[in-house]
Amino acid sequence: MIEVRDVTRRFGSFTALSHASFVVRSGEIVALLGPNGAGKTTASRIIAGILAPTEGDAIVDRISVRDDANAVRARCGLVTDSPALYERMSLRSYLTYFARMYDVPQPGPRIAQLVELMGLTSVLDRKLASFSRGMKQKAAIARALVHEPPVLLLDEPATALDPEMTQTFRELIVSLRAQHRAILLCTHDLDEAQRISDRVVIVDRGRIVREGATDELRSAGRPSFRAELVADEAPVRAALGTAGVTVESIAASNGRLEARWSSDDPAETNTRALRALLDAGARVVSLNLETRSLEDAYLAIIKESRQ
């Protein structure tokens, strides 16, 4: 489990992270979202025990980075956007080297297990320089897992991976969650975050601006509704206006009309809207609650935080 407690990190006069607090529980994937330079990498490096917080503390597996950063490092696996491998080494030597750095008592069986998981068994004795980008990233993940860390920190791990490799990588992360690891995924790939994360923490300009379950964030704000109608635009607009419904948009699509509105009191507003539409002679094909994509929610939250 990761617990970030009121962490601030300054580099000279620049504040990279300001009073950040959030939690990642075991068996949970939390996406740390934010634009470039928002403080995501700083947060992951503080949790990994590489950077000390200027203020506050980060607790990893009940150990404070301030009290014992080395013990924290031993409990974290870190994957960055660049595989960062010693390319003159073979995969076997590379993983053995890091296994020894992490005090793994019997590296052999663990390495065999990992390369099988990653589909790299056939290239175990090949030089890392000959690997493709995707294979290198898999080797980096194997390195991060070699000591079976309870905490996994993934900082833009899928950058430059092709769609097939990204899919494989995603499945791997989800399987690691099933092994009760706490996983922090720092990314600006909202699609990836939406697909696999349980919760989202949004950071902007070093400050955490929103935190919550992925579904909660997507449905945050006024609920929005979409009615699909067989009708003309003018009477529909007039009917909804008369019923006091704040229409966001009306557009023709595939020979039908789509009307969108939002409301804080859906039961009252939708009843009035439907009654007005039926009275105006419109035929209602469907009425649905619109779910925002995480991207829409993210953009709205970032915009709101900057106002």
Partner: protein
């Protein structure tokens, strides 16, 4: 310390997995033998000249430390391989010690081989008795110790340079100035030995030792995780 040794071993294997590094090392071993062969005809070579050749045999291999140190630190920054290393449970002091050892051990080993090769070659050409008189055990140990101190100086100062620059090329270029300083120091020692000015020899050795201490302390401060990560 076990992790420092592990790190040093990996770095040494990495350095010498490059054929160019092996060729450079062989040149340094061959150079003193070549000097003796070139001066073969001058059977009456002065004792002072034998001592200067021995000094060159001991100290020239120290130059290999420049490339090794620049590659070890700046190249690792450039390739971003420092991040996984810094994320591993290894103390800052073990990282610095391991990297210094990776610079020191091969260059010192090369210096020893070069000195032994020179001793053998010069004994064959100038006569074993004469060479044994000029290069007694104390002199040979002294020359070897001097080369170790010089390698430490080079390694530590190049580490300091590497901490400040972003690329291996820049580190190597700046390290060239270190090499120039080393040549000046070598000339001073050579001149002092020839003129038997013991005070100057002691002065130069003392300067190298002070430089070692200053550079090692600077390197220790610059290569703690905080500093290293902040500069990535």
């Amino acid at each position: 310390m076990r992790k420092a040794l592990l790190l040093a071993r990996r770095e040494i294997v990495e350095q010498y997995s490059d054929r160019g590094a092996i060729v450079r090392a062989l040149i340094f071993v061959a150079l003193p033998i070549a000097l003796v062969q070139i001066n073969r005809g001058t059977g009456r070579a002065q004792d002072g000249i034998i001592l200067i050749f021995a000094l060159q045999a001991a100290l020239l291999p120290a130059a290999t430390a420049i490339n090794a140190a620049a590659g070890s630190f700046a190249a690792e920054k450039e390739a971003q391989t420092l991040v996984p290393l810094l994320a591993a449970p290894i103390r800052d002091i073990d990282i610095v010690a391991g990297k210094l050892l990776a610079v020191l051990a091969p260059a010192a080993g090369l210096s020893l081989v070069s000195l032994v090769a020179f001793d053998a070659a010069s004994s064959a050409v100038y006569g074993a008795d004469r060479v044994a008189r000029v290069l007694g055990p104390a002199t040979l140990y002294g020359l070897f110790a001097l080369s170790v101190f010089l390698i430490l100086t080079i390694g530590a100062w190049v580490m300091v340079v590497s901490a400040r620059v972003g690329s291996q090329r820049t580190a190597q270029q700046i390290a060239g100035f270190v090499l120039a300083g080393m040549i000046v120091a070598l000339s001073a020692i050579g001149g002092a030995i020839q003129n038997l000015a013991a005070v100057v020899v002691v002065g130069v050795v003392a300067a190298i030792l002070i430089s070692d201490l200053v550079a090692l302390e600077l390197a220790r401060r610059l290569w703690n995780r905080e500093e290293a990560v902040a500069r990535l």
